[in-house]
Amino acid sequence: MSFLSVRNVSKYYGPVAAVDSFGLDVEKGEFISLLGPSGCGKTTTLQMVAGLVRPSAGTIMMGERDITHLPPPQRELGVVFQSYALFPHMTVAENVSFGLEMRKVAKAERDRRVKDILALVHLLALADRYPREMSGGQRQRVAIARALVINPPVLLLDEPLSNLDAQLREEMQFELRRIQQVVGITTIMVTHDQSEALSISDRVVVMEQGRITQVDTPYELYERPRNPFISSFVGKSNFLAATAEHHAGGATISIGNTGITFQANDRPKGKHVSVFIRPEKLRLTAPSEGQIEGTVTSRYFMGNQWLVSAKTPAGTLSVAVQNFGAPPPPIGEKVGLVWRNDDCRVLAAGAAE
């Protein structure tokens, strides 16, 4: 029996399904990210778990307990809203202590716990400030403290970092993970930022148009995306049109008008397939030494690496080149491209299952 179990939950607005048969089992202490493009139903899912939106179908279990129809105050989950939703008329300390007051915790105990949690999020010095007197990152930590102080079994976060600038955001990602691990709290976080989802989660749930399309660890998700949409949404990818000949052990893949063939373990449906390969799995060599030959058409310097595009008979391919040693060949130069066939993923063409 898992800790939190969302079973076949759907939400319809009129005839439109905002969330369609969402099913997920979350283990205790796990950090789960809900990842997907805008409007795919992430917030709706989270709010159904929080009890703020009533599911049209399905059940939500906490351990043995069915909480599907429990009103939010009785669920005792910690929720951090996208806009933080701090109480503007209360100080930081009052914001944080609100949930404890609702639980009728005695004043002395309340003060102690507020102090402890504010120390955890490094905000002890600002306890008497009002939200409007604080920066975005500080507000976000108040929101987290307010949700954590009631010792909820589950923490629900709706795009908690989306309002922050890039640098603060990165800092806060690790801060969030640190707090989550110190407290050991089961966490579900909504995000539409793939790098955020990959860097701090135990598992990532990818959603498209109200449905789950893949649930995996960040590494698996990145290395073995289930469909072309995921492979381009999570990280960058090159796509090559190819044909597949199926046989007992797998399939023989021929990449269109190049004569390159290889054996694949994947078993994509149909004859027409897409081969995709990450830019960092390609390498540039001398023209004659590669599996395929091409001409450099663009070259962007990204700091830690270069992004080089080369026009080949199979199409234009992006290659990530570590910024190590000399710069890569300039535009117009002939190059060879090398990869390991094992790094190629083969998917049914255009299929979003």
Binding site: V53, R54, Q82
Partner: protein
């Protein structure tokens, strides 16, 4: 983005309960008395026996045929219209000047212009009666430069001056609001394209402010046409407007049905103007979109 729990509750019950007190209150004290007044306007009046419970249109015929009444209506319309024109002529440039002012002055003078709204109409009208009276300060000033004193108080001029003073804030507010939302660089752009200051105003600023002017004119006209204190104090016993006429019928002549008739006509005129205005706004909006 967030549907709340309450939205999931029975759809009609909660909002009905919440709005019930106000709804009952307004039905009982707005719709019911208005209906009674409409009925009253169709009753006839007998100077010895009082209000009859018959139904007749004779009151409306009286009001439309008797010169005393229709000339009063005519005066009401005329003065309200003149006031509106004056309010536009003074209020629109003033709003424009205000919106061009620098930081502290802008809010200070805005307060000076719209602050008088918080002072009772009676007080301000009383001030004008002192200024305009036979021995008032305007005549005093005229005498000082050797001009014959003129009769100002108890003339239509006095009423229009008083009305213009009371109504000016109602014109400045909507125009100023619209001007606030305008992009100031647009006017500057017109100037850099070689437009003269006047052309820029006429071609760029004025058309955009038109909606504010329209809504200001509407408020000014409606309030002027039904104003009571100003004709009462500045128009004297003879120069009546619709509101003072109703007052006389109700509290001096005691002919309530006739008074109710005039009041209903004022109300209808008001509603017609409002509807026409809404039409205009819709057309404007359509033109902007299409």
């Amino acid at each position: 983005m967030s549907a709340s729990v309450s939205a999931a509750r029975p759809r009609m019950v909660v909002p009905s309960l919440l709005s019930a007190p106000a709804t009952l209150f307004f039905i009982g004290l707005v719709l019911l008395p208005l209906a009674l007044t409409v009925i009253l306007s169709f009753n006839s009046y007998d100077y010895t026996a009082g209000i009859q419970s018959d139904l007749t249109v004779s009151n409306y015929l009286t009001v439309l045929q008797d010169e005393y009444y229709y000339s009063t209506f005519w005066r009401t319309l005329r003065l309200a219209l003149i006031t509106t024109v004056i309010a536009v002529v003074i209020g629109v440039p003033e709003a424009y000047i205000l919106s061009n002012m620098r930081k502290p002055w802008r809010s200070i003078f805005l307060l000076v212009i719209i602050g008088p709204l918080l002072v009772s109409v009676v007080v301000r009208t009383f001030g004008w009666s002192m200024l305009l009276g036979k021995n008032g300060f305007v005549n005093g000033a005229l005498a000082a430069v050797g001009i014959e004193p003129v009769q100002l108080l108890y003339t239509e001029t006095a009423i229009v001056i008083g009305l213009a003073h009371i109504m000016l804030p109602f014109m400045v507010i909507p125009v100023w609001t619209v001007l606030q939302k305008l992009d100031p660089t647009v006017e500057a752009a017109a100037l850099t394209l070689g437009a003269s200051r006047f052309t820029a105003l006429r071609r760029i600023v004025f058309p955009q402010a038109a909606l504010g002017i329209l809504s200001g004119s509407l408020i000014v006209f409606a309030l002027s046409a039904s104003s009571f204190a100003i004709p009462g104090l500045l128009g004297g016993r003879r120069l009546k407007m619709a509101a003072t006429l109703v007052y006389d019928e109700f509290l001096i002549e005691l002919n309530w049905p006739l008074g109710a008739t005039i009041a209903i006509i004022v109300l209808l005129a008001n509603l017609v103007i409002m509807l026409a205005y809404n039409r205009l706004i819709e057309q404007q909006a359509k033109r902007k979109l299409g």
